[in-house]
């Protein structure tokens, strides 16, 4: 009953926001902004730039709100817009180019039992080059498939796979160094 009530509330807020009701728009913003800034931060290291991208993405959310058909998750819909905005920012502003190497090796990684803090995770992701970072975020965090990522980034599916492989390899080595550091301190 509570879920239905919440859903009804959400649709009502969306309806009001479509009619340029500023209070409704602010409600949507305050409900999702912190989560969405986290999403943007995954792709963009600079928190200020991440916020700028989030704001422009929210503008797109409100201008295209009438296109949302209340079928899927509203959060998922906003999240997709955020991710796309981050990708377009990286591709246009940072001019990220993907090396079209389709040679990738599936390596078996050692199971890592260490629990990382969120800051450590973000540190590891930030250390990745933008190309690897995008594919890794899209595949491992957002859950997109390689063909979807290939379409989103305008690259071959093989390139997406190779980019992920490289990202994983790089992360593995970084994790190993972190491990060593941790062991050293302990």
């Amino acid at each position: 009953m509570k879920i239905i009530h919440l859903h009804q509330e959400e649709t009502e807020i969306i309806r009001l926001a479509v009619e340029h009701n500023r209070q409704a728009q602010q409600q949507i913003y305050s409900r999702f902004s912190s989560k969405m800034l986290s999403v943007c931060r995954q792709y963009i290291k600079d928190i200020q730039l991440a916020e700028d991208v989030m704001i422009t993405a929210f503008m797109k959310v409100f201008t295209n709100l009438s296109k949302f058909e209340n079928k899927g998750s509203f959060e998922g819909w906003i999240r997709r817009i955020m991710v796309n905005e981050c990708i377009s920012y990286l591709r246009v502003q940072k001019k990220v180019k993907f090396t079209e190497d389709e040679i990738y090796v599936e390596e078996s990684f050692n199971s890592i039992d260490i629990q990382f803090s969120i800051d450590q995770i973000q540190f590891l992701i930030d250390a990745l080059p933008d190309g690897y970072k995008m594919v890794f975020n899209l595949y491992a965090i957002e859950g997109y498939k390689h063909n979807e990522i290939a379409k989103m980034l305008g690259i071959n599916e093989g390139t997406s796979k190779s980019q992920l492989s490289h990202a994983r390899k790089m992360l593995q080595t970084q994790i190993n160094t972190l491990k060593k550091q941790d062991n050293g301190t302990e």
Partner: protein, 245 residues
């Protein structure tokens, strides 16, 4: 490529993470939204205004075209009318000049006729005079209105002639029987008067027809001469070119 353990950990932790944006973030978004909304409404208004202006421009241009057209047409009419008036004036002037000329030319003829053929009838004299008039007019080589003018003059002259003839017959009749001569003169006068009346009536319509016909003829002639001139110039030009080649 199954997700590794650390990837699952990454996903869970990242999805739970929340980063509060700065307080200014909403203000910026609010400002952007209000600008976008302001832009939207003026755009609609502007489009409406521009469409209205467009219609105004179209209407104004149509009115302008109509005005220009009417002015142009009226001007054309005026220009056409002016030459007509000029032509009429010219005709009158020509008539006057011809009448004067013909009067001068007629007088010697009359004298000749009076002296040489004292006993002859007036009708042949008149015919001769008319012929002479025509000849004189042709020799002057005036345009369409010559004959019209001459015919008018002939009428006038006919009157003069009758009086002249009368005097001449009176002079000659000194040696002849006065009564017979008077009788004959009366007869001729009556006959001439009747003839005059008839002739004048006939001449009026004839004159108009003649004038009209000659006007047309002259126009045709003009056109023909112009065409001929142009043809000749073209011919010469072509021949010159051929020679040059």
């Amino acid at each position: 490529m199954e997700p590794n353990n650390f990837e699952k950990d990454f996903r869970d932790k990242l999805n739970q993470r929340k980063i509060e944006p700065s307080n200014k973030a909403w203000d910026r978004l609010d400002a952007m939204l209000s600008i976008a909304e302001e832009n939207k409404t003026p755009v609609r208004l502007r489009s409406l205004q521009t469409s209205k202006r467009k219609w105004l421009y179209i209407a104004a241009s149509i009115v302008g075209f109509l005005l220009v057209g009417t002015i142009f047409l009226s001007q054309k009419k005026d220009t056409i009318e002016i030459p007509k008036e000029n032509v009429v004036l010219e005709e009158i002037l020509k008539k006057d000049s011809i009448s004067k000329q013909s009067l001068y030319t007629i007088e010697p003829d009359k004298a000749e006729i009076v002296t040489s053929e004292k006993k002859s009838n007036q009708k042949p004299n008149q015919e001769q005079i008319i012929d002479l008039h025509k000849k004189s007019n042709i020799s002057i080589k005036k345009e369409q209105n010559q004959i019209a003018g001459s015919s008018i003059i002939i009428k006038k002259n006919q009157e003069n002639q009758t009086s002249n003839n009368q005097t001449s017959t009176v002079e000659t009749s000194k040696n002849e029987n006065a009564d017979q001569l008077i009788h004959s003169a009366e007869k001729t006068v009556v006959a001439e008067n009747s003839a005059k009346a008839k002739k004048i009536k006939v001449n009026a319509s004839d004159l108009l027809n003649q004038v009209d016909g000659e006007l047309e003829l002259s126009f045709r002639e003009k056109v023909i001469t112009k065409v001929n001139k142009n043809y000749q110039t073209v011919k010469v030009a072509v021949s010159n070119r051929n020679q040059q080649e």
